[in-house]
């Protein structure tokens, strides 16, 4: 039987992969993809708890999370394109103007 712990464990693994991706990668596109992985992990948790508790609120909120993820991806990618115009690079290390 699939239990709550299965879903929560999987979502935790996915979240950790996302965190490590954000920390390790220097390519802005891949960093944004890792953020999407973390949002997906959160959604798995919401749906799993909704299933366990018999309350649809979790599914409603995971739809909201998906909407926010869509907006975040649109803005993030527009920022990447602006940065590319400015620097002809999408490497995070090239955007170091604020470094002290």
């Amino acid at each position: 039987m699939i239990t709550l712990a299965h879903f929560v464990g999987l979502s935790f693994v996915l979240f950790t992969i996302g965190v490590v991706g954000v920390l390790v990668r220097r390519n802005l596109l891949t960093v944004l993809m890792s953020i999407e992985l973390m949002l997906n992990a959160v959604n798995i948790n919401l749906v799993a708890f909704s299933r366990q508790l018999g309350d649809l609120t979790g599914q409603v909120f995971s739809v909201f999370v998906i909407a926010v993820a869509a907006g975040e991806a649109a803005i993030g990618l527009a920022i990447i394109i602006s940065l590319y115009r400015l620097k002809t690079s999408v490497n995070l290390d090239d955007a170091a103007e604020m470094k002290g």
Binding site: V19, N40, F64, I66, A73, L86
Partner: protein, 184 residues
């Protein structure tokens, strides 16, 4: 092993392999394709958890919309001409160590708590979840039940989300359109 559990592990494997591929692949286009694989795996898991509407939205919005945005951006920034990223950044080893510890310690605690909760609160019947009676009307199916809740109990957040999407769209257009002179 019962079939449901077998499929759970299969979808979980697809999801995790896709996620690892996103982080490991050097070319962003390969990362994007692995990301698609991960999204589809997650959608299958939603179906298994009885959230058919969320699964459909996941495929439409993530695998359809966000994926296309990523592919367009990869095309526009001409990644092949980029200087190749140093594979093992100095941050990589502490980050991997942190990830491992995070997974082991916090993950262990969270999974144990989930197990304790599942033992205390028995899982709800999925059929009862999909056929609730709201105001004397029998709601049939997950999509109708979630839609009912979305428009009735969460109407204001729903409208705010639509305004948010409009703002995001205008912001993306403005950011993408403006020509900026180079500093360097």
């Amino acid at each position: 092993m019962e079939p449901a559990l077998f499929f759970f592990w299969a979808f979980a494997a697809v999801t995790v392999v896709g996620a690892v591929g996103v982080v490991v692949m050097r070319q962003p286009i390969h990362s994007a394709l692995f990301l698609l694989m991960s999204f589809l795996g997650v959608a299958c898991l939603y179906v298994q958890a009885g959230a058919e509407l969320v699964a459909a939205v996941q495929i439409l919005v993530y695998a359809g919309g966000i994926m296309i945005l990523f592919l367009y951006t990869i095309m526009l920034v001409n990644v092949r001409r980029q200087r190749t990223e140093r594979y093992l950044h100095f941050q990589a080893i502490p980050a991997l160590g942190f990830g491992f510890l995070f997974l082991l310690v916090v993950g262990g605690v969270v999974v144990n708590e989930a197990r304790a909760l599942a033992a205390k609160v028995p899982a709800a019947d999925p059929k009862a979840l999909a056929t609730t009676v709201i105001d004397g009307v029998t709601v049939l199916g997950n999509t109708q039940a979630v839609g009912w809740m979305l428009y009735r109990d969460y109407f204001l957040p729903f409208e705010i989300a639509s305004v948010f999407l409009l703002v995001a769209m205008i912001g993306a257009v403005v950011l993408g359109k403006r020509t900026m002179e180079r500093f360097d």
